[in-house]
């Protein structure tokens, strides 16, 4: 490691321009990223978490380009249901029409640009703009304009003024949107991670319980993705209190299992083995119907599953002992960027629709106790996320070329695994994080 650090410094002094990041043109920043971000060598500079300019380029080259999660189809179960969400900083209305089709629109009136809908969710088929009263159907058509004939003289072409439709595709109930008309099909973008998403949300008919939890953390969004994509190493210490309480076996249990990464920056840690079946026993047939034999094999032996779909959709199956009984909970969370040092965490809890009410309640309460703003796992994470982000702010980390070490497991060879992707035979490696930053860099410098 000493070599890398030294080399890094020497190289840095050679290419050190007189300019700060702030003074660089966008192209110069991109070139600089190419010079200094070295995921394959395990070198990630700290300024990536603290620089507003990098954040702006991320918005353009990552969040406006890739598929980004916007919700689960069970959140709009009935005809006429709608919800509002954000896609790369822009508000969307997601509707289910009278035929059951789900669509997404930019939440902006096409007349003068007013935000059309200000509620989180509800049920209605008509949206009326608060400014001039233009009326839009939940299929996007402009169907009403007050005093239209009188004031437009019959010359307003309403068919040209429908809501701006947003590209939306779904996989196993997970809804993704993108502003990029040329984006590859969602299933191609997800690629091999689908095999694991099947276990997460395709194992049975799943539903979101209630509404997502939302809270703001003064953290760069990548710290969250990085944590979930492959960092089980931190659980021994950051979450040491959980082992002390006897909710998980011991402080080193988190090493056991596999780390897997796939193309496009996705990755996960699979905790195995598990002597207990972590899911509702009575739904075994449903699981078997929905999963391949290999997937069911993984599910039966699963202790936990922690991963990230690039860029910022993290997921989790967690199995803990609460009140002397084991219970699992399944959740997905989005690290929604608000600024270079701020994000909104949006966390959805999912459960098998056909599980018993007792299972649903216990599963929900275990989610609240462990992963929510009050969650005894989550609260220690957000403390760490905040301090990492703070330490990366301002010009010093750039000037001094501060870097993070991502070399864990560089010496290791992948193993054969029953599922797709590049797999390692325990969870303590940083291959998934390197893979995340590799794809991130690819998009940033494209």
């Amino acid at each position: 490691m000493h070599y890398d650090v030294k080399l890094g410094r020497e190289r840095k002094s050679m290419l050190k321009t007189e300019k700060s990041l702030e003074e660089m043109s966008k192209q110069q920043v991109v070139n600089y990223l190419n010079e200094t971000v070295k995921p394959e060598e395990g070198v990630i500079p700290a300024y990536l978490l603290g620089d507003p300019k990098v954040y702006d380029i991320e918005h353009e080259k990552v969040f406006l380009k890739t598929w980004v999660f916007i919700g689960h189809d069970s959140e709009v179960p009935n005809k006429g249901d709608f919800m509002t969400r954000e896609l790369a900083g822009y508000s969307l209305i997601i509707t289910r029409d009278a035929e059951g089709e789900i669509r997404a629109f930019y939440n902006m009136c096409t007349h003068r640009g007013m935000k059309l809908c200000r509620a989180d969710k509800g049920n209605k088929s008509l949206f009326t703009c608060p400014y001039h009263g233009f009326n839009f159907k939940n299929t996007g058509e402009l169907v009403g304009v007050p005093l239209q004939k009188d004031i437009y003289g019959g010359n307003l072409d309403r068919s040209e003024m429908g809501l701006h439709k947003v590209k939306l595709e779904s996989y196993k109930g997970l809804l993704f949107g993108t502003w990029n008309e040329d984006a590859e099909p969602l299933e191609e973008f997800l690629g091999d991670i689908k095999w694991y998403l099947d276990i997460l949300v395709g194992r049975a008919e799943m539903e979101v319980i209630g509404v997502p939890q939302r809270f703001v953390v003064n953290s760069n969004w990548k710290v969250g993705s990085d944590n979930f994509v492959g960092d089980s190493y931190h659980t021994m210490v950051t979450h040491g209190s959980i082992a002390k309480l006897g909710m998980v076996p011991n402080a080193t249990y988190s090493k056991r299992g596999f780390q897997i990464h796939t193309d496009n920056g996705h990755g996960l840690n699979l905790g195995t083995p598990n002597p207990d079946f972590a899911f509702p026993e009575e739904l075994k047939d449903e699981f078997k119907t929905n999963l391949s034999e290999e997937q069911y094999g993984v599910l039966s032996n699963l202790k936990n599953m922690i991963g990230n779909v690039f860029p910022n959709l993290s997921f989790l199956i967690s199995h803990t002992k609460i009140k002397d009984r084991f219970i699992s909970n399944t959740s997905i969370r989005m690290w929604r960027p608000i600024g270079h040092n701020k994000m909104e965490v949006i966390a959805w809890m999912l459960v098998e629709k056909n599980a018993s009410q007792d299972w649903k309640d216990r599963s929900r309460d275990s989610f609240i106790l462990t992963f929510s703003p009050s969650g005894i796992f989550e609260q220690d994470d957000t403390e760490v996320f905040t301090d990492i982000t703070e330490a990366a702010q301002g010009p010093m980390p750039f000037l001094k070329n501060l870097t993070y070490n991502y070399t864990m497991g560089l010496h290791r060879e992948p193993v054969d695994f029953i599922g797709p992707g590049v797999a390692y035979d325990d969870k303590f490696t940083e291959a998934s994080q390197r893979n995340f930053y590799k794809y991130w860099l690819e998009l940033m410098t494209k």
């Binding site: 509800g122 997502p212 939302r214 703001v216 309480l245 106790l369 005894i376 989550e378």
Partner: protein, 169 residues
């Protein structure tokens, strides 16, 4: 309001002030002793609804949904050496106001509503967090003392602007 009602209001105001002090002083064991064994400690997720549609909070997703056992677990956890979220502890100041006794049976039970404003300061951070909301509390009289048997805290934000709720509401 007659004198009797004023005294009653005063009694519960005092209870809530004492509770606030225990929490602000990080006396979690003493705070926990104020709870009744049948406790339900709940904080629903707030939702932006259209117009005046109510309730404007989720009836099945919560930020806290603890019984006495789970609350005990949280208190015990804060005493381990690994509860980083509160190492060092936040400095908090709980302001309780607008106390109204909604229902009361002498020596038996009471229903009390109040407003709560929490100021939270972490470490050297010069930014503070404010958490505001309404408490809907129920009390049971046991062994000569009022014990909290139910708390529903209706927070005033749909997106909570504090890094976590490692503190109690």
């Amino acid at each position: 309001m007659n004198v009797e009602k004023m005294l009653l209001k005063c009694e519960f105001e005092q209870w809530l002030y004492d509770e606030a002090q225990l929490l602000d002083d990080i006396e979690f064991d003493d705070w926990f002793d104020l709870m009744h064994s049948s406790l339900r400690y709940q904080m629903p997720v707030r939702v932006n609804k259209e117009g005046v549609e109510r309730p404007d909070y989720s009836t099945d997703m919560f930020t806290f949904n603890d019984d006495i056992e789970l609350l005990k677990l949280r208190v015990d956890r804060l005493k381990t050496d690994y509860a980083w979220a509160e190492i060092p502890p936040s400095r908090t100041r709980r302001f309780v106001s607008n106390v109204r006794v909604k229902d009361y049976v002498e020596g038996e039970k009471a229903v009390v509503k109040s407003y709560l404003l929490i100021y939270r300061s972490r470490s050297t951070d010069i930014q503070h967090d404010l958490i505001s909301g309404e408490r809907n509390d129920e009390f049971i009289f046991e062994e000569g003392k009022w014990k909290l048997s139910k708390r529903i805290f209706i927070v005033d934000q749909s997106t909570i602007n504090t890094r976590n709720l490692a503190i109690f509401v």
